[in-house]
């Protein structure tokens, strides 16, 4: 029954995305800082996408995070940006913290939009610099996707030495929201600053922060895998069709082996993402370590695929009109917005003894 709903949902998603996510529309979003496809978001809300994975007790459909992953993969394939992962992660954190059930319900219904404000300035890790004290936040976050259009932010901050995640209503006092130009304007990025902004503690402690970042990383990994899949497919298609020196470029080993490497990276990244998702669904203790591998594996796969997709396309690949640069931009923004690779590598190596027992 759940499977049927999922299949139907995914079929609908593919149809909608194929119809709406045209190159022209995607390119228009890249033109202006802080862009957001509100019309498409409206349709996604109508189809219930924000609700599918959110728990029933929070007002969602409760189909589980496993329902969101393939949907994000479809979005990733088409470089479509919708605040689904951020909404799910926020709602899940709220449920865990037992706070703001109303906001979770609004996230499920699509009335509310969440941004994950986890990134730090001048730091590729996630140790928060924003300070929580006396019920309010003070300090600045690095740019966060969807912050330009979000109603709420899940913000990492510290109370004394204890890091935690805090919920902020972005209409509250003391919120400054600077829309910023990025490599990938379609993700509605903005930098948030808080000046005695009222905030609610959601979950406390470094482990809780990391676990929720790991959930975000796992979901993003599926977007990355979708993107890498698409890069591989258009590269292979182009390599079969484009001729130089009397042969399809796909007959030259330089291209064949490049694409074989792209395939390997993709499948390794996919394997990591699948394993992290499974561990999360089963509530296993190895989840964070597997989330690290998903973050790193899917990130490497998409970065590599996007970079070499342009290279495979040659001159055409460097034009605005062609598709590859959408992925070149998206691969990097997904790789950066919840902490850079060196941070996740540290996390993985520090915990690798745990992983070894898997």
């Amino acid at each position: 029954m759940e499977n049927e709903i999922l299949t139907m949902l995914l079929d609908q998603a593919v149809r909608l995305l194929d119809a709406e996510a045209s190159q022209t529309r995607l390119k228009a979003l890249l033109e202006e800082p802080g862009s957001f496809d509100a019309a498409l978001w409206g349709k996604a809300v109508e189809l219930g996408w924000p609700a599918i994975a959110i728990a029933e007790e929070s007002g969602g459909l409760g189909l589980g995070i496993g329902s969101l992953a393939p949907l994000l993969q479809e979005l990733g394939q088409r470089t479509v940006s919708l605040p689904l992962a951020s909404g799910y992660v926020t709602a899940a954190a709220l449920l865990e913290g037992g706070v703001a059930a109303d906001v979770a319900a609004q996230l499920a219904s699509g009335q509310a939009i969440a941004t994950l404000a986890l990134g730090e300035a001048g730091e590729c890790g996630l140790s928060p610099a924003v300070v929580f004290s006396g019920g309010t936040l003070k300090g600045a976050k690095a740019p966060a996707s969807f912050a330009a259009v979000a109603t709420h932010a899940l913000v990492s901050a510290r109370d004394g030495d204890t890091p935690g995640l805090y919920l902020v209503d972005l209409t509250a006092a003391g919120v400054t929201r600077d829309v910023v130009p990025t490599i990938d304007n379609a993700r509605a990025a903005a930098a948030l600053r808080f000046d005695d902004t009222p905030a609610t503690l959601v979950v406390a402690g470094w482990n809780a922060l990391l676990r929720h970042a790991g959930v975000a990383a796992t979901l993003v990994a599926f977007e990355q895998i979708g993107g890498a899949e698409r890069c591989l497919r258009i590269s292979v298609d182009y390599a079969k069709e484009r001729k130089v020196f009397g042969q399809a470029i796909g007959a030259f080993q330089a291209i064949k082996h490049k694409l074989a490497d792209m395939y390997q990276e993709l499948e390794i990244g996919r394997g990591c993402a699948i394993d992290a998702l499974e561990s999360l669904e089963e509530g296993r203790g190895d989840f964070l370590m597997l989330a690290c591998t998903a973050r790193l594996g899917a990130g490497m796969a998409y970065d590599f695929a996007a970079r070499e997709c342009i290279q495979t396309h040659g001159g055409i690949g460097v034009t605005w009109e062609a598709e590859p640069h959408h992925h070149y931009r998206r691969a990097r923004s997904l790789a950066l917005e919840i902490g850079g690779a060196p941070f996740w590598r540290d996390l993985l190596v520090d915990g690798q003894q745990i992983l070894e027992t898997v």
């Binding site: 079969k240 390794i268 990244g269 996919r270 394997g271 699948i274």
Partner: protein, 407 residues
Amino acid sequence: MNDMSTQANESLGDYVARARAWLDAMEPRFGHEARKGLTVDQDLALAREYQRLKSEAGYACITLPRALGGGGGSEIQKILFGQEEFKHDFPTTYFTVSQGMPIPMLLRYADKEIGQRLAPPAIRGETIWCQLFSEPSAGSDLAAVRTRATRDGDGWRIDGQKLWTTWAQYADYAIAVVRTDPTVPKHAGLTFFWLDMKSPGITVKPVRKLAGESEINEVFFDNVYVPDSQRMGDVGAGFRVAIETLMIERYSVADDACGGPTLNEFAKLAANSRINGRAAIDDGQVRRALAEAIVERQGLRSIHRRALSAIAEGKEPGPEGSIRKLRLARRRQAMGELAMDLMGAEGMLLEPEGTSTLDHVWSWMDVPGARIAGGTDEILRNTIAEKVLGLPQDYRPDKKVPFNQIG
């Protein structure tokens, strides 16, 4: 009942549990400690004994019939048993080729009577078969074999040379692909036989490898007689039969350190090595290398687990299995090199008693063959590009040219 491999309605989980128990029981007699200090001949004798017990317990040639000494089991059971057996250091290497490909092919292509007579002792480990495929000029390009067989009455006379023949020095029998017609294109002129390795005219000469072991051999043929009754498949069908042989091991199992030290061993080394007085494990370049290796291992484990599920459901595993060896052999080489870097001048030491699975330097020394045997890095990338991605085949100027007219 403990020695029966296949039990009705046994789950795969139970199967594995039973295999583990059996293997654990074998450990004292055949494990690492028991084998320490043995000569190759002593080790081979021990291996034959282990093989006999495997056959009795139904763990030898698991997919072949029980009546012949096999296990009467499934492909997935074979893979799962192999995975468990890998965790021990049992003397299995002498029989890997023998039981993996020649015996199943013999049962498919040779006279029934021959198969019934020769397969059981091979399965019990009493005899060893080798595979006479590669030659000096035919490695990656198997269809380029030059070893000639010419008609002689009811049989054939073979002249030429094979190379890279694993365990030929201990082999009693062999399967071989040879050229019976040089006037047709290369793939069309080959024929497949089985041979008695004691036939007059066969000389076996072990090849010394760079790191010293010698499981590989040159095999010379000087007017060796083979009756036509030992032909397997039609005259001229040898290439197809050879490819079928290579496809039997559709899904090969390799541990995820590819025969080198595990990543845990590397982490231990890094914890105990210093870079300018600081623990190497705290250094970002070491962490990056280790993190990337862990990611790769996790991805490959996931691919492997899903392939096993597919096989368990009776599906054919895809060619994505090629990824595993391609990645892990290169990774083992890179990690070996980094391990040596961390050891500094001590990284030159090659302990005589060391083994590739435990010693980083031995692993590095012995790894180059892993990037070549069973498909070079380059061939495997081509396989992925062509078979998985559907990219065009390389230019093959010799494909339709009669073999004796190829320049």
